[in-house]
Symmetry: C2
Subunit: 138 residues, 2 copies
DNA sequence: CGAAATTAGTTGCATAGCGAACTAAATGGA
DNA sequence: TCCATTTAGTTCGCTATGCAACTAATTTCG
């Protein structure tokens, strides 16, 4: 019945990959959501809440609370910018920087395993297509 | 940085389509999750919790609580099977059956709009590919 | 300049989701 | 038969997510 439904198939796949990356990041004490948010800050920070929320395609409410979590874990800091009294710049801590390489390797290892299961070309094509739909809608 | 990441792109798209279908089903007083679960019961019921959870690729815990919600809304009932004292069969109520056609039309209308934005062929191809990855992994 | 509108971020309240621990029923051997 | 194992479903405690309403700072413009 839902063979051709974007919602059904996409949310199903999202749950599946979330479970897989959850196991992968468990040794770090991080959820995939936290791990990816941290990776963005590590790779692209300093970055404001608003930009981070845009980058991850989450609401600013979710962003704010996720940053609370990472800050509690000692992985990011909120630095007041001199330019604008309303906004913060998020910066990674040394503790986070020490994890950077290993986080990237862990995610790459998961990807490699999935590519093996799915087939290299099908994997690449599909991710590209998903990215395309992401860009086209909303 | 995450251009080729399955997790990043899939979860992002899932959030996006969830927001879109949330707006679409709002007039029914249903979340997309509830609406799709109900549609499965309408189309494929009577069905047990276990089969429904498999069909939707959710845990039985989530399934159980989602069914609570639909039951509270008067849209499904849990019928004790005579065969097995542990399990229920989920059946749609008349109230739910009265919504069936309109739910299907609403989802079809959203799909049509998205196909227009994305392009028919790209849409179909991508959903098929997503379905393929869903089947290949885990 | 100063009031109105916009923008950045937080908080309240809700649903969706998972794993783990649990209860109760059914099944499978010895 | 009866105990051990499996299976169906629920409950607990947690994170992720969104919208709406809020505060505070900044910007716009008459």
């Amino acid at each position: 019945m839902f063979e051709h439904c974007l919602y059904f198939n996409t949310t199903s796949l999202a749950r599946k990959v979330d479970r897989i990356w959850t196991r992968a990041f468990k040794p770090f004490g991080l959820t995939p959501s936290q791990a990816f948010m941290l990776r963005v800050v590590l790779a692209e920070g300093p970055i404001t809440h608003t930009h981070l929320a845009d980058r991850m395609n989450i609401s600013k409410a979710t962003c704010s609370r996720s940053v609370d979590g990472l800050q509690k874990l000692g992985l990011v800091d909120r630095k007041q910018t001199s330019a604008d009294g309303r906004s913060f710049e998020l910066v990674s801590t040394e503790k986070a920087q020490a994890l950077n390489a290993e986080l990237n390797e862990t995610s790459a290892a998961v990807t490699k395993k999935l590519k093996h299961l799915v087939g290299n070309e099908a994997f690449e094509t599909t991710v590209t297509n998903i990215k395309g739909i992401n860009a086209a809608i909303d």
